[in-house]
Amino acid sequence: MILILAYSAVILSFASGLLALVMNQRLFLLDWFEKSSADNERLASCLGEKQFSSLVQKAVFMLLGLSGVFAVLAGLSVLISQGVVTDQLSLGLPWLPWHVRFDCLSGFFFLIVGIAVSAVSLYGPGYVKSYTDSQHPFAVLGLFTGLFVSGMLLVLLADDAFFFMIAWELMSVASYFLVAFQHEHAANRRAAFIYLLMAEVGALAIILGFGVLASFSEGFTFDALRQVQLSANWASIAFVLALLGFGMKAGIVPVHVWLPEAHPVAPSHISALMSGVMLKVALYGLIRFCFDLLGEVHWQWGVVLLILGTISALGGILYAMMQPNLKRLLAYSSVENIGIIFMVLGLAMIFMANGHPQLAALGFLAALLHAFNHALFKNLLFLGAGMIHHQTHQLNIDLMGGLIRKMPKTSVLFLIGCMSISSLPLFNGFVSEWLAFQTALQVDVLDNGVLRSLIPVAAASLALTAALAAACFVKVFGMIFLGQSRSHHCDNAREIQDKGMLAGSGLLAGLCFLFGIFPGLIINLINKVSGQLLGASLPNDAALGWLWLAPVSANQASYAPPLVLTGALIAGCISFWYLRRNPATVIRHAETWDCGFGGLTPKMQYSCSAFTMPFRRIFNKVWIIDERIDKDLRGAMNQDVAAVHYHLEVNDHSWPLLYEPIERGVNTTATIVGRIQTGNIRTYLGYSFATLILMLWVIS
């Protein structure tokens, strides 16, 4: 029954992809229709050019939405029943059919995918209206969206290495096509190439990781791999490979570079899925590999995860802060959030390896909860970015401003996203961050001195990350929605009219708030995951009743968001009511104070780069900053300054340090190896001759 739900989710998403192909067949259908029966008026009217495309788009997204709903249902039902279902599909290799296994961990990630996909499919029809021409064929978009989603779902279902890799690569390749969808810009093509290349390299690392396990076992089913008893060294090699592979997909620094390139160039609802969900699937892979397949974890792995996570979190948010492109910024912020998740997962590993499964469950909970939350708010933000782009046709934050008055609904939704991602209390982001801190604070139970001093430092970095994230999203919201408009595009922007787009984002915003207030709803589900996977759940998850969140014990820490919300409402109402009492209630509107000089223009506002200038000064080693001021000089002696241009470019260190050397290395090697092919046939004969002699010599 549960499996049927899961399968239907996969099949529906697949079907939605196939249905999108119909888009190109309108004339064919028209033809066929005329031939068969010409009397049905309504059907014929559907085949009008406009109606047909909107009909197909709606149908495609409806199927996709249904698939999302089924995924949610499947996830919920397996989580609630806490069961494990397995199956075999008669596909794959003759001696290795595709094995399917659906357990709580998969179920939880099904939930994430399902929610995100449902929101996206509400949002989609409004967003893709413009993609009907041959320039951007909807057929391609729809097909690969469907494949992408089904790929992600299949990854979660896979129970053997072979099937896993197929699903994994299906996900990668389908999303590659989506990234390359708007391929007329060279930057997009480059992004797509980098994306696919890194996806491939990552996949190879994963294969190798599986290979290490498989070479010690009889088969490649996960069941067989679970049985493998590896020596510590081999296990560590497998772990490093898996970390490299899954980390590449998840976007861990320094293998994150594809992420800020690829996410911004895909259509926004796809960016939302990629950033919000696909990264989580990578996380799923890592968890499955480390906690499930490898079984016994080592604390050193935890330390690696912790350190990498910390670097990613800090690096991600610092890079995010400097981006003027909204979607690039959001992509970098995904790096940050994944970093946080990895950190906490590292903590869980450390606790697990040191024999504190309950605390490990706490860390695991924090990690999964943050993954869940990140899926919600990052999706919301990407969808918001899509709405902004839809209305203003740009993504450069420096050219926006004042949209809160033009797009009030969007602004509220986006604000909720910003608050969640800045982990402010009452929103979901805070809960997971709170749990992360709680996990880190349990360091006292550990014996190892290194860990005892390392974890607090990591916690401090987490605090710094959170604070920087708040700064970053103040910048984002402030620059986009507040102040005055900085370009005529923004002047002309209007509120989104499409209800679906608002509903899709609204759903996510509502969930952000809901799970901020009632985190217990989701925490209970995650607890079942850790119960099944780690064999331990939270020590005391319901110490004080359902309103309360007291993960370890009520004496150690507790948080009751509903009460806090009530308090906030009371305080707010009292102050509001009290002050309203006054005679001078009517607000007088006046010009902004301009220090008496007159003529405030939007150009005088703080810009994005101005806002982040203090950070640039403070953390200037983190980026490669290219900042210069060009003056247009005129006049006889070149003394009159006609115009001043400020130029700022902030770049990632990982390019010159890691990637460019590799690229150069490959090219140089190719040049050197190319020299063997001189074009002279006598040389070639010489090779043949030499090879023969050499071989004969070797043999004898």
Partner: protein, 314 residues
């Protein structure tokens, strides 16, 4: 009863905070050989502001008008968490110290947004600087507080303070570090010299004032009040965490009165210290603040490490 006490002390918090601000101002005036205003001057200012008609820029959006309420409520909520005159508060359980820091962040978030809303250079400047400073201060503060919470192995402030109180006088090196860190952070976060100057309106130096430049009337009152509340909150935190003696552990009137007296005395002393330091120290350049705050962060971290290595080692 617990809830009642909690609400009562929150009200006390809100009510007393202007008094503390007035006291600091008085002390400063005396130290600087000026004639001091009345200690109740802040009350009068607030009252007057509430009666004035607010003038709001034409550019302002709903966020600008709602923000003061949000800021004020968030700060009040933070106040509910901190034990003022008694420990064992139910509110401390519903929101622990991390949530308190979260509330500060909440208030700051909206304050910074409000600063950006009008679209003047000042507002943006203030927001940018505020976010910079706070993003450095917040981790330092958390570090300092974590030292406490790990000592008491709880993040519940009431319980933590009770733990310190019951332990009696133990000289902990970690607390010295944590205290210094917290003081440095408090100075930065409440916008005092040497990080910011609450009484300046000189564009190049101001931070907090720059953001609220466009506010007037009751909105300004709320924001001013919130920042006074914040000052008091930090004062109480420092006083009650590191010198908890005198705080009421049971809810009989005598203990409570005693607790009230104790905290007022402690705050008065702290205010004097603050006034003295503000008189002696000059304001820093903005870009030296990072060094200042990194130092605070370092102290907080040292506190934490010394707790883990020296005090809780096995």
């Amino acid at each position: 009863m617990n809830w009642l006490i909690a609400i009562l002390q929150t009200i006390l918090f809100v009510a007393l905070s202007p008094l503390l601000a007035g006291w600091v101002k008085c002390c400063k005036c005396w130290l600087q050989n000026r004639k001091a205003p009345s200690i109740f001057q802040p009350y009068r200012d607030l009252l007057k502001l509430t009666y004035k008609q607010p003038v709001v820029s034409e550019q302002a959006s709903w966020l600008f008008i709602k923000a003061p309420y949000v800021i004020f409520s968030a700060t009040v909520l933070a106040a509910t968490v901190v034990p003022l005159i008694a420990v064992d508060l139910p509110t401390s359980a519903s929101a622990d110290v991390i949530v308190m820091v979260g509330f500060f962040a909440f208030a700051r978030f909206f304050l910074a947004l409000a600063g950006l809303d009008i679209g003047t250079a000042f507002g943006g400047m203030g927001s940018s600087r505020e976010m910079t400073i706070s993003s450095l201060a917040e981790p330092a503060m958390l570090m300092a507080i974590f030292t406490l919470t790990m000592t008491a192995s709880t993040t519940n402030l009431s319980l933590a303070i009770a733990h310190v109180l019951n332990e009696g006088l133990i000289l902990r090196p970690s607390f010295v570090f944590a205290l210094s860190a917290l003081i440095l952070v408090a100075v930065a976060e409440t916008g005092r010299i040497p990080v910011d100057n609450p009484s300046t309106h000189l564009e190049l130096t101001m931070i907090h004032e720059a953001m609220i430049l466009e506010y007037s009337g009751r909105h300004l009152a709320l924001i001013e009040w919130a920042s006074q509340l914040k000052l008091m909150l930090y004062g109480v935190l420092i006083a009650n965490i590191f010198f908890p003696w005198g705080i009421a552990q049971s809810f009989n009137p005598q203990d409570l009165a005693y607790g009230l007296m104790a905290i007022m005395a402690k705050l008065a002393v702290l205010a004097i210290v603050l006034a003295i330091s503000e008189t002696l120290v000059a304001k820093m350049r903005l870009f030296r603040v990072q060094e200042y705050l990194s130092f605070a962060y370092l102290l907080g971290l040292l506190g934490m490490l010394s707790h883990i290595i020296l005090e809780a080692s096995r």
